[in-house]
């Protein structure tokens, strides 16, 4: 059923009549043209659709729009101003932490959520924290390196 849903999307207040049982993933992709958030499995296994909801990484394919009311959503497009890269994005470029790049936005958003909670996780904690984001190409090693490179107190301010 359609209902006006109000929430914060990448820093802007939005109001839109939306089907309450539409997933956040497809609402982002079809209504807001934010296609950086990807469909991978539809059941929350792979993490390609990871966005932040109130600064927590969530699987947008498993979140209904009804539950987004009043929340703050951040997608890959909202991570940095249009002409800039966020330090995590920059680290992914510098470490070439991708191959096909399809899982990359989800990886970056998950890493962002991880670093917001713990700005200096050990390599082991990074691996644990990223474990349920799938990369089929096998860029795991470079992704861990990239996240590790921004994982220290000094860069925390930049991240926030």
């Amino acid at each position: 059923m359609e209902k006006i849903i109000q929430f914060e999307l990448n820093g802007n207040q939005v109001q839109m009549p939306l089907n309450q049982d539409q997933s956040l993933l497809w609402a982002l992709r079809t209504h807001f043209n934010l296609t950086g958030t990807k469909y991978g499995c539809g059941l929350g296994f792979c993490g390609a659709c990871t966005v932040l909801m109130d600064n927590e990484p969530v699987r947008s394919c498993t979140i209904y729009m009804a539950d987004v009311e009043g929340k703050k959503i951040t997608t890959i497009e909202g991570l940095a101003p249009a002409d800039q890269l966020h330090p995590i994005q920059q680290a992914f470029v510098d470490h070439d932490a991708m191959q096909c790049g399809y899982c990359t936005p989800g990886m970056i958003m998950n890493a962002y959520g991880l670093l917001l909670k713990n700005p200096s996780p050990s390599r082991k904690l990074i691996i644990e924290g990223m474990n349920n984001n799938y990369c089929r190409c096998g860029a795991h090693s470079q992704i861990v390196d990239a996240v590790e490179s921004v994982s220290n107190e000094a860069k925390l301010n930049q991240i926030k």
Binding site: N19, T30, K38, F45, A48, I76, M98, N133, S141, Q142
Partner: protein
């Protein structure tokens, strides 16, 4: 023959083969367009044909253009799916042409803009397309130098090119840019291979590690994949699919979806689809359709498939025969008989098959996630009864493929619906559709008899591979009496199978390298020493020695309890050798891969960083088929539906990976596939070294490991 006649001849061939129509050709090279054009085709059709088992038409494969502003564009039917050719091909063109790397623009996989290409697979882009690209660039440069000599009033040998500028040696200030030379000129030149590419030692951009050029778009979420296109009025389509492969459609009751607001129903014979602007609404609607099918007898499942395959009527093809295996058997002091198995494996790219199609007047435009844009164009033209020029395929970034996106049925579905409805139609498969419609790596069996004399020389090699294919079935080792045969049959599998990254080779290398370790252990020899003793191929010896140094291999009699594994192989011209260290939990059968080292001889390496990333990727992906990936099924019912029942490698699996690429100034070979071939044999051998248990079936799941441990 004059250039124009040559062109004409080739145009005639193209018209005959119904590939590139004259009109398109003229449009592509339109008279209004200035610049230098060099047309070229791939050098080795034989290799392509042999590798792909298909005959290619003899038309032009790609061309490059130097614009009046000096920008260089390479048009190629190859596509970028993560393997990095968008970067490495640009490096090659820039280096040979002596322009800045940044000035090269790649246009890939657009059937209206790029001349025919058979598809991006078989690790052909650099090793087969690459040399042609270099030859074309060399030719283009020589034409430019001739033009410059005329313009500057010098002879060509007084000139040199650098950074898109041709200068007179020793004369400061006397120069002309490529852009100035091509401005207002229209020069057509058919590649005649008169200008030789540089020597490998002269390359400056090639051989350098360059970060992929598409990285920034990808980290921003701005890189467009097929599913990211948004067209006015676009509808998502869900197609009614049978619940089982081989099921025959009887009837469907579509009444439940006829009156749902905004749902469009399409019924075209057995092809039934519902469309909605929201894919989840379309998905809900398609579930309301009640369809009846008749089913085939469900004869096999993932356990019984191997006997079923072996009992099928097959055709034998002798791949290689040397000496006489009867003599080999006599010469052997000991004969080893083994049977190896591997299960069906899915491609599982994170991007599922996706396509959006729309009509531009009577022409179908389809934006498709595919490895084979021209194959898709053929399919759509054929199935929808359209002339080729009425179908245009555009390939955006592809979100992983691994062989699974050579077939692109979703494109036909989208095109068909666009034609029927007149609307832009997006078909974006769900993960469940992806597993159901995948062309799996085939289940396969290898029966292998090998023998050894009393000096630990391999004296017999009798190798029979069933259903994996022959790629990588080379004996590799020096055996006087050997025979390799490949057995296959049509329509045996209960569903579609196809090429999976280094097709056949994963299975074949698993069998061969396991058998070698079985023999080495019996001979009481270190498995590296045993290999070196039985090898003559210097390149294979080279990668084995290199990986031993990288890994810090210390010889021992196996099983040593250390959990060390070794394997080597050859794929698409490149040599690879791997070493690994594993830990096996003998209570649970769980394997932890601690580290993997890999040495690769790929000839001259265009982008070492990119190539090493491919090696890393091969190692990670290969752990999946080695340890966990297996499709479960009963007859045509695919029981594997999503990642919950199909475990692909995760971060927690990540071993310490060390790689080395041998420094070679020889012909360029494959980079995207070779390093995956050893992973089954490597891990099997490491498990044996850790526990004394020998695994004969992939994947080596904890259950199978516990079974094998119980036999030690």
């Amino acid at each position: 023959m004059k250039l124009s006649e040559l062109l004409q001849e080739d145009l005639d061939i193209e018209i005959e083969t119904n590939r590139l129509k004259r009109r398109d050709f003229i449009k592509l090279t339109g008279a209004s367009l200035g610049g230098l054009f060099v047309f070229f085709r791939t050098g080795s059709f034989d290799l392509l044909a042999a590798d792909q088992k298909r005959t290619l038409p003899t038309d032009y494969n790609a061309f490059l253009r130097i614009d009046e502003d000096g920008e260089v564009t390479c048009f190629t039917g190859k596509i970028e799916m993560g393997q990095g050719v968008i970067t490495s091909l640009a490096q090659m063109l820039a280096d040979e042409l002596d322009v800045a790397f940044e000035s090269v623009k790649m246009v890939m996989g657009d059937t209206d803009l790029c001349p025919y290409d058979a598809g991006t697979w078989g690790s052909l882009s650099v090793r087969v397309f690459g040399p042609s690209l270099l030859a074309a660039a060399a030719e283009a440069k020589s034409v430019l130098i001739s033009l410059a000599a005329e313009k500057l009033g010098t002879t060509t040998d007084q000139l040199y090119a650098q950074g898109g500028v041709i200068s007179v040696k020793g004369e400061k200030g006397l120069f002309v840019t490529y852009g100035q030379l091509t401005k207002g000129n229209r020069i057509e030149k058919l590649l005649d291979n008169q200008s030789k590419p540089k020597d490998f030692s002269e390359y400056k951009i090639m051989g350098k590690s360059i970060i992929r050029t598409d990285a920034t778009e990808k980290v921003r979420g701005k890189a467009l994949y097929a599913g990211d296109y948004r067209l006015p009025g676009m509808l998502y389509a869900k197609i009614l699919r049978p619940p089982s492969h081989g099921a025959s459609f009887v009837s469907a009751d579509t009444s439940a979806v006829r009156n749902i607001e905004e749902v469009m129903l399409v019924e075209d014979g057995e092809f039934i689809a519902v469309l909605h602007k929201d894919p989840e609404q379309a998905e809900k609607a398609i579930r309301l359709i009640k369809a009846a099918y008749t089913f085939q007898e469900k004869k096999v499942d993932e356990k019984t498939i191997f006997d079923f395959l072996l009992n099928s009527e097959t055709e034998e093809r002798v791949v290689n025969e040397k000496g006489d295996i009867k003599n080999g058997r006599i010469a052997s002091k000991e004969v080893f008989e083994s049977t190896f198995y591997n299960s069906y494996v899915a491609h599982s790219p994170i991007e599922t098959h996706t396509a959006v199609a729309y009509l531009e007047e009577d022409k179908i435009i389809a934006i498709v996630s595919t490895q084979s844009p021209f194959g898709v164009q053929d399919m759509i033209a054929r199935e929808l009864d359209l002339p080729l020029e009425k179908v245009r395929i555009i390939t955006p970034f592809v979100g992983g493929a691994f062989g699974g996106k050579a077939p692109a049925q979703q494109a036909l579905e989208a095109a068909r619906l666009a034609k029927l409805t007149g609307k832009p139609v997006m078909v974006h498969w769900t993960r469940e559709e992806e597993f159901f419609n995948d062309t799996f790596r085939p289940a396969a069996v290898i029966k292998l008899s090998s023998g050894m004399d009393d000096q630990a020389n391999i004296s017999l090699w009798d190798y029979k591979v069933y259903f994996a294919g022959s790629r990588g079935s080379d004996t590799v080792y020096d055996v006087a009496d050997q025979r390799t045969a490949s057995f296959s049959a049509k329509n045996v599998h209960p569903f579609s199978v196809g090429a999976w990254r280094a097709p056949g080779n994963n299975t074949n290398t698993f069998a061969r390298e396991s058998q070698i370790d079985i023999m080495a252990a019996k001979a009481g020899m270190d498995p590296l020493e045993f290999r070196l003793k039985n090898l003559k191929d210097e390149r294979m010896i080279g990668v084995l020695k290199a990986v031993a140094e990288l890994f810090g291999w210390k010889p021992a009699k196996f099983p040593s309890g250390r959990g060390y594994g070794i394997a080597c192989g050859l794929d698409a011209g490149s040599y690879v050798a791997h070493m690994a260290e594993v830990k096996v939990d003998q209570k649970t059968g769980f394997v932890e891969v601690v580290r993997v080292a890999c040495a690769q001889d790929m000839g001259f390496c265009v982008n070492p960083h990119g190539a090493k990333m491919q090696m890393d990727g091969c190692i990670m992906m290969g752990l999946g088929y080695a340890l966990s990936e297996e499709v479960e099924f009963t007859g045509g019912d695919i029981k594997t539906a999503n990642f919950g029942t199909y475990q692909i490698p995760q971060f927690s699996w990540l071993p310490i990976i060390e790689t080395v690429i041998l420094d070679k100034k020889e012909a360029m070979q494959a980079g995207g596939e070779p390093a995956i071939i050893c992973m089954g044999g490597l891990i099997a051998n490491a498990i044996f070294d850790a526990t004394g248990a020998r695994l004969f079936q992939l994947p080596m799941t904890p259950k199978r490991i516990l079974e094998a441990l119980s036999k030690v």
